[in-house]
Symmetry: C2
Subunit: 288 residues, 2 copies
């Protein structure tokens, strides 16, 4: 994991524009995307790539694209009009370090760059690249991450049912996690057989819900210092979470059942799924 | 032109998500992208498509994608943290009609949808589609439209030289105008010969600068009612424009010289360039 994380830092640094014209914007884009983060989504891209003996160059492009989409969403979510947060990865958020207009443009331009990376010629067969690009776009857009964030904002002060909460989480967080897995598995010479793809997709859905459940638990049990972002925000903002819906003990059981289900989906893949299994456990091992 | 404008309204309406989940976001996306606008960029896509006997379905996808990028940029530019405008196309801006968080997500999701449209299978040869997608991404990102907007914000209260102003205009407005022309010309069965492509590209650059010069002139001579957006904003905000740099008479001469240069670049294309010529004149015919 440390090797992939270091490789990602270099890959992203190479793929983001240097100063030159629009220097301040470019500096802010690098600030928002470099220098931290667990790189869970890139790790998932690479781990899924193990299943198909994927091409390294294609994996790097996919991992960078997914991570830039994630970084754009953080820059925008932290803005005063959205979650109004001042701390991210232990540092001031982008609009605090720069200004709101710059943070807005940073998010816009990071999104654009993500799709530009996936449109580079020769990563994979062109038709496959278009498919992966469409997968990432669907996951990020109004029926995925952006739509989930809209639902999240609209849910403040409301009580959601578990299916409603799961739909919101599947869109807000799960869609991009799932896309990371599908993109990694799409970087092989051949597509996975349909039955295996279906198993992997089920794994990806469970992993996405698991990631959000752990995030909900951490928000109310971990310290700001440990998280690198403001703790206790969900409760303060009156946001429905697994914890507010079930209480902390049942939320932990729920997370554990998702972990089990995720791992079961990988049963047929043998040793090639080793990294995906390790990552699933890593997601759960973040400190409560 | 009226036929293309009507066709675009239908095409965009079909390509934007309906209510369902994230209903308010989808309503706001439709508000921001439908029901108005001159559709200059789609008109340019279709007009450039005439040069290469382009496929209608590919032109519609390209025109929709370019227009959604434009609509996203308007939703974000109008936000309080950027240009803080309340009127657009004669109606309240998106954040006034909905709220700031929604307008932010509207822009995000419209951008995503633009790239998703260009990744649809079978519009053109896949490698060509990737090329056009990369062209649109480069034009929209930090070295194009988003970078130009950052420069625009940074230029408030400053005096720019004419080359500095032209660079800012070429990025902020020109890049997407140019992309519209290149995308339209990319929808034929074969690519244009290099010499013709170079002429067309020069036309596109001139048209982009011309469009912004006319916009600068209109901002200080037309009424809010005629524009459908707040007039006199550049001067009030202390933004450098053609008019602030040269004065109105010289700015008109500058626009006229750009129009001449644009038309000269089309000389070798014969009757097929008829629509591009008409559009160039249409851009200039907007009322001072």
């Amino acid at each position: 994991m440390a090797r992939v994380q270091a490789r990602m830092e270099t890959a992203l640094a190479e793929r983001l524009p240097q100063a030159g014209i629009a220097a301040r914007l470019h500096e802010a884009m690098r600030y928002a995307a470099l220098g931290g983060g667990k790189r869970v989504r890139p790790l998932l891209v690479f781990a899924a790539g193990e299943l198909v003996a994927a091409k390294e160059e294609a994996l790097l492009a996919c991992a960078s694209a997914v991570e830039l989409i994630h970084a754009y969403s953080l820059a925008h979510d932290d803005l005063p009009a959205m979650d109004n947060d001042v701390l991210r990865r232990g540092r001031p958020t982008c609009h605090v370090k720069f200004d709101e207009a710059t943070a807005l443009l940073v998010g816009d331009a990071l999104q654009t760059r993500a799709f530009e990376l996936l449109a580079a010629p020769g990563l994979l067969a062109s038709a496959r690249q278009l498919e992966l690009l469409a997968t990432l776009a669907r996951a990020s857009g109004s029926l995925g991450m952006a739509g989930g964030q809209a639902m999240d904002l609209a849910s403040v002060g409301k009580t959601l049912s578990q299916p409603e909460l799961e739909l919101m989480h599947a869109m807000k967080t799960g869609a991009l996690i799932r896309a990371a897995v599908l993109l990694g598995a799409g970087c092989g010479r051949r597509a996975l057989a349909a039955a295996r793809m279906s198993k992997l997709d089920h794994f990806a859905k469970c992993a996405g819900l698991l990631f959000q459940a752990i995030d909900d638990l951490l928000d109310c049990t971990a310290s700001t210092a440990a998280l690198g972002k403001t703790a206790g925000k969900d409760k303060a903002a009156g946001k429905p979470t697994c914890v507010s819906l079930m209480g902390p003990a049942a939320a932990r059981d729920y997370a554990e059942s998702l972990r089990q289900e995720a791992l079961q989906s990988l049963a047929g893949f043998g040793a090639k799924a080793g990294r995906l299994i390790a990552l699933t456990n890593f997601i759960c091992a973040r400190q409560f």
